[in-house]
């Protein structure tokens, strides 16, 4: 069992990287089913279970950092469980989902934990050290690999029941809270952007964009189009004005 568990964990590591990098989508259940089937020696069952898990995850999309139940762990545990316990593929889904949810919470923690590393990246930038930046990215990938490796290894090696008991120890509210925090996180990124970009002169446009989405539920693209239409107006129509006395321009930049 150790060999199989190690092979499956290896695949989980690779697939876990592919979920965020490469994105060749070898990480999808439909592929993972085949791979796990080969490893565990039941290609047919692997294919069928992978196909069914694929349908379950279809449409759970990773939009703007929001995380659906982890598709990599879900696919791997589901397929492995179906083959090892010789259960009906549809039962596999029930086992796969709690692991996938827990893994998703883990990813939130990972994305949180990786934030401090950015300050190292800032230092490298300050030094013009591009190698350093590269290393940070390689490091990120290694972390991803190791995390997925471990998370996939344990339940396969120790059996789903034992693993499930472990997962069960994490309170659901805690997991939900992490996922909620994940949904709030983009606020920090936007605040960083604002710190750089926001000047009194342009604050009106921040309001504009907000109102258009909050009240009128426009998609971002429509807001960008409207912003462009104002920018064009400002660029071309007010053109003559700003070109006049060069002294005045300073006033704009110095701002009030």
């Amino acid at each position: 069992m150790l060999t199989e568990a190690l092979l499956i964990a290896l695949w989980a590591g690779i697939a876990g990287i592919d979920l965020f990098n490469g994105l060749t989508h070898i990480h999808r259940p439909v592929v993972t089913g085949l791979v796990v089937g080969i490893i565990l020696g039941d290609v047919q069952k692997g294919l069928v279970t992978g196909g069914m898990l694929e349908l379950v995850w279809m449409g759970m999309a990773p939009l703007a950092g929001a995380q659906p139940p982890n598709v990599v762990i879900g696919g791997i545990i589901g397929a492995a469980f179906a083959i090892l316990t010789n259960q009906d593929p549809s039962v596999a889904v029930g086992v796969a989902v709690p692991f996938a949810v827990a893994a998703q919470a883990g990813i939130t923690l990972l994305f949180t934990a990786f934030s401090p590393v950015m300050h190292k990246a800032d230092e490298f930038a300050e030094e013009g050290n591009l190698k350093g930046i590269a290393k940070i990215n390689y490091f990120g990938i290694s972390i991803l690999f190791v995390s997925y490796f471990i998370v996939a290894f344990l339940p396969v090696y120790f059996g789903a029941d034992a693993a499930e008991a472990m997962v069960g120890m994490l309170p659901q509210t805690f997991i939900d809270g992490l996922s909620l925090a994940g949904g709030m996180m983009p606020a920090i990124g936007f605040a960083l952007l604002l710190k750089i970009m926001l000047k009194k002169e342009y604050a009106g446009f921040l309001i504009l964009g907000f109102v258009l989405v909050a009240y009128l539920e426009l998609p971002i693209l429509a807001v960008a189009l409207l912003g462009t239409s104002i920018a064009l107006y400002d660029y071309f129509i007010n053109k003559s004005n700003d070109q006049t006395p060069p002294g005045n321009k300073e006033v704009i930049t110095d701002g009030i």
Partner: protein, 277 residues
């Protein structure tokens, strides 16, 4: 004077534009773009991966260390877009760097494009290409055919790689063609870019920060749900806006992003335990 200093800060000191990126430079960048999310995190999202992908271009373009540093610092700022369409922005920005545009203008264009391309990409790939190709693959696999995963991977990746590389070159060409003009008029262009950029940030705040209160006040027969009965009626998305502005204010007060991330985790978990979020 403040404005003079500022101007210096946002302009590259070496204004020569003799470097031209070669096809193979662009291809190297496209390969590297596969690692866009290698160090994804909540503080900067894809920033470090973006910088890693842009590195071949930046290294070649900025021969003065001073300029390289300026450029790297700007490219380490918050960034997030769709991981396939990103190469289109990369191409444009590479062309702008090549032509030594003002840093503020470059940032403006980055921010103005990342939001819409994020939304479009999510619709095209996660909501269209993926279900189609995976649907075909899954239906074959369920019948036990090994063609399932194979057909899926081929279908999906032909589109994926053609776009990833194609858009890099297309973005670069577009950039080179339309950037020369932009530079003449730096102030006006960076103003225009700020207009679109900040509108998009406002829109992103309302779109992508998920924060709702589940607080329901039960008072005898009456029950008032704070979110749906009050906030949604006066100012929907008030909590996301408020939270973004709070983060902004704390940043300005000198708090580190890390501290903010920690606080966010605490609020999220705490809010769930208290049952108010």
């Amino acid at each position: 004077m403040a404005s003079n200093n500022k101007e210096k800060d946002t302009k590259y000191s070496d204004q020569s534009t003799d470097v031209s990126l070669s096809k193979s430079d662009l291809n190297r960048m496209a390969w590297r773009s596969l690692f866009l999310q290698a160090s994804f995190n909540y503080e900067r999202m894809q920033a470090a991966g973006w910088l890693f992908s842009m590195a071949p271009a930046l290294e070649k373009i900025h021969k003065k260390k001073e300029d390289l540093v300026k450029s790297l610092k700007m490219h380490m700022e918050f960034f997030n877009t769709h991981p396939f369409l990103v190469t289109f922005i990369m191409g444009i920005i590479a062309a702008m760097e090549e032509k030594k545009n003002d840093i503020e203008t470059i940032r403006g264009i980055k921010v103005a494009t990342m939001g819409p391309l994020g939304g479009i990409g999510d619709a095209l790939f996660w909501l269209t290409l993926l279900p189609i190709s995976a649907g075909i693959g899954a239906s074959l696999a369920i019948e036990g055919s090994i063609a399932g995963p194979i057909v899926f991977l081929i279908m999906f990746n032909i589109v994926h790689f053609v776009l990833r590389f194609g858009l890099m070159h297309y973005g670069y060409k577009t950039g080179v063609k339309s950037i020369a003009k932009l530079k003449e008029n730096t102030k006006k262009v960076s103003k225009a870019a700020s207009i679109v950029g900040l509108s998009v940030v406002g829109a992103l705040i309302a779109s992508y920060i998920n924060l709702k209160t589940t607080l329901v006040i039960n008072a005898g027969e009456a029950s008032v749900a704070l979110q749906t009965d009050v906030l949604d009626k006066t100012m929907p998305k008030m909590l996301p806006l408020g939270y973004a502005l709070l983060m902004y204010w704390l940043l300005k007060k000198g708090w580190s992003p890390l501290k903010l991330i920690g606080i966010t985790v605490i609020i999220g978990v705490g809010g769930k335990y208290l049952g108010i979020l």
